[in-house]
C-alpha cells in the first residue's frame, strides 16, 4: 500500500512534467502574442487539476490492468494454439474498438457532408446518415482486417516494411481514383482510428505474442499492429469515396 502511494506521488510528478509544455505554450500565446488575460482562471485551474489526476490514474491503470491483460491473452492464445480463434479475436478487437470510436464518427459525418456538397449523394439527412454509417462500417472492417494481417505477420515473422510498402502503394493508387474532395479526410482518418485504450491493449497483445513464440523478437516483430491499423483506413475511405 505504501509502495503504491509512493508510486502515485512519483507518477503525479511525471504527469505534471508531461503537461507543463502545453501550459507554457498556451500561456505564452495568450499573454505575449495575443496580449490577453487568461479567461476563467479558476475554471482553468480546476480543469488542469482534473487532467493531472486523470493522466496519473490512467498510467497506473495501464500498468495494473491493460498491459497485463493484453499480454496474458496473448500467452493464453499462443498456449491454446488455436489460430482461428486468435484471428477472430484480433478481428473483433479491431472492428469492435473502431466502430464506436467518437473520432471516427466525427470524421464519417464530415465526409458525408463533403459528399453531399460534392453532389455524389442527395443532400438529405437520411442519405448522409447512410453514407456516414457505411463509411464507419468500412473503416471498422478495415481496422479489423489490419489487426488480423498484423497478427499473421507476427506469427510468420514477415518483415514489416514489405507489408507497409504494399500499403503505401495501395494508398498511392487509390489517391488517383478517389475524388479529390475525399483525399484530405481519408489521409486524416488513418490517424484518428486508434484510440487511447486500443493502443495499449494492441501493443501489449503484439509484444506478448512475439515473446511467446520462439524465434520472434518482441522489438522487431511485436510492434507494428498500430501501423497497419492506421494505414488501411486511408485506402478504404478513398475506396469508399471512389465507389459511391
Amino acid at each position: 500500500m505504501k509502495a503504491l502511494i509512493l508510486q502515485i506521488v512519483v507518477s503525479l510528478f511525471d504527469s505534471f512534467r508531461d503537461l507543463a509544455p502545453i501550459i507554457a505554450v498556451i500561456a505564452f500565446f495568450q499573454l505575449v502574442v495575443l496580449g490577453q488575460p487568461i479567461p476563467n482562471l479558476l475554471d482553468m485551474l480546476w480543469g488542469m487539476f482534473l487532467v493531472l489526476i486523470g493522466l496519473t490514474l490512467f498510467v497506473q491503470g495501464l500498468k495494473l490492468g491493460l498491459f497485463p491483460i493484453g499480454e496474458s491473452l496473448a500467452w493464453d492464445f499462443a498456449a491454446k494454439g488455436s489460430l482461428i480463434w486468435l484471428l477472430i479475436f484480433a478481428f473483433a478487437l479491431g472492428f469492435g474498438t473502431t466502430v464506436a470510436e467518437p473520432a471516427l464518427i466525427a470524421v464519417a459525418n464530415e465526409a458525408a457532408n463533403v459528399a453531399a456538397v460534392g453532389g455524389w449523394i442527395s443532400d438529405e439527412p437520411a442519405a448522409r446518415e447512410d453514407y456516414a454509417y457505411g463509411l464507419r462500417i468500412t473503416v471498422a472492417l478495415s481496422v479489423g482486417a489490419a489487426i488480423v494481417i498484423g497478427v499473421i505477420r507476427i506469427l510468420r515473422g514477415f518483415p514489416i516494411q514489405n507489408l507497409i510498402i504494399i500499403g503505401y502503394i495501395g494508398v498511392v493508387i487509390m489517391t488517383f481514383f478517389a475524388p479529390p474532395e475525399i483525399i484530405g479526410i481519408a489521409y486524416d482518418s488513418g490517424g484518428v482510428t486508434t484510440s487511447t485504450i486500443t493502443v495499449p491493449l494492441v501493443a501489449a497483445l503484439g509484444v506478448g505474442l512475439a515473446s511467446s513464440i520462439e524465434g520472434r523478437n518482441p522489438m522487431i516483430d511485436g510492434f507494428g499492429l498500430i501501423a497497419f491499423a492506421s494505414l488501411t483506413p486511408m485506402i478504404f475511405v478513398m475506396g469508399y469515396g471512389a465507389l459511391l
Partner: protein, 263 residues
C-alpha cells in the same frame, strides 16, 4: 459545484460507453475461449477502474480547461485582423505567417508530450528493449516529428499546394530511411505514426486547420482544412528512425573512442 459534478458524471458515462466494446470482447474471449481465471484478478480490475476514472478526469479536464482556450486561440491567431488581411487580397505571401508556424509547431510538440497512448507505447518499448529505448527520448522524438508535421501542414494550407504530393514524398523518404535504420526500431517507428494523434492533439489541430482554411483567401475549409493529422502521423516515423540512427551512431563513436584506450 453541482454543475461541475454533473458534467463529470456525464463524461464518465460517455467514457464507459466508449470502452464498453473492449470490455465485452475481453470478457467474452476470456470466458468463452480461454476459460482460465485471470491471474491477479483484483489487481487487474483495480487497473481497469483506474483507466476508466483516469480517462474520465483527463477528458473532462481537457474539455474544461484546454480545448476552449486552445480552439479560441487557433481562431484568433488565424483571424484576418491578426493576420493583417483586410479581405481584398487574392493571394498571400507564405512568409508572413511566422506566428502561425510557431503556434503549429509548439502546439503539436506539447500536445504530443501529453498524449496518453504515446506514453503507453513508450513504456512498453522501454520495457521490451530492456531500457535501450528511453521512454522520454522516444516521446521527444515523436513530438519533434509532430511539430515539424503540423508546421509543414500549416504551410501547405497557406500555400494551397496539393496534399498527396507531400504525403507521397514523405512515404518515399520513410522507405529510404527504413533501409538504413536499425532493424529493431522500424516497427516501433511505424507504430509511432499512428499513436501520436488522439485525445489531446486532434481537437486542437483540427481547430487550427479549420481556422486557417476559412480565413486564407482562396482556401476552402472543406478541401484544405484536412490533412494536418496526416502530416502529424507521417513525420514521427522519420524522427523516430532518425533518433535510433543517431543513438546507434553515437554508440559506435563511443565504442571507437574506447578502443585505443583499452588496447
Amino acid at each position: 459545484m453541482i454543475d461541475k459534478l454533473l458534467s463529470l458524471w456525464h463524461t464518465l458515462l460517455v467514457t464507459i460507453w466508449d470502452i464498453l466494446p473492449i470490455i465485452i470482447i475481453l470478457v467474452g474471449s476470456q470466458v468463452l475461449l480461454i476459460r482460465r481465471p485471470i491471474a491477479n484478478l483484483p489487481r487487474v480490475l483495480l487497473g481497469f477502474f483506474f483507466v476508466l476514472i483516469g480517462l474520465t478526469f483527463f477528458i473532462e479536464g481537457l474539455e474544461r480547461a484546454l480545448f476552449p482556450l486552445g480552439k479560441l486561440m487557433a481562431e484568433q491567431l488565424t483571424a484576418p485582423a491578426f493576420l493583417g488581411l483586410d479581405g481584398s487580397e487574392t493571394s498571400v505571401d507564405w512568409t508572413e505567417f511566422g506566428w502561425i508556424y510557431l503556434f503549429a509547431a509548439t502546439i503539436g510538440f506539447s500536445t504530443t508530450i501529453a498524449e496518453p497512448s504515446l506514453i503507453a507505447v513508450a513504456m512498453k518499448a522501454s520495457e521490451v528493449s530492456g531500457g535501450a529505448i528511453q521512454p522520454w527520448g522516444l516521446r521527444v522524438a515523436v513530438a519533434i516529428g509532430v511539430a515539424i508535421g503540423i508546421a509543414l501542414g500549416a504551410f501547405r494550407i497557406i500555400t494551397g499546394t496539393p496534399l498527396p504530393y507531400y504525403i507521397i514524398t514523405g512515404y518515399v523518404f520513410v522507405l529510404i530511411q527504413t533501409w538504413y535504420a536499425p532493424r529493431t526500431i522500424v516497427a516501433l517507428a511505424y507504430d509511432s505514426g499512428g499513436v501520436t494523434t488522439s485525445t489531446v492533439t486532434v481537437p486542437l489541430v483540427a481547430a487550427l486547420g479549420l481556422g486557417l482554411s476559412s480565413h486564407i483567401p482562396g482556401r476552402n475549409p472543406m478541401l484544405d482544412g484536412f490533412g494536418l493529422i496526416a502530416f502529424a502521423s507521417l513525420f514521427p516515423m522519420m524522427t523516430v528512425m532518425g533518433y535510433a540512427q543517431l543513438s546507434a551512431w553515437a554508440a559506435r563513436r563511443a565504442a571507437r573512442a574506447a578502443e585505443p584506450a583499452s588496447s
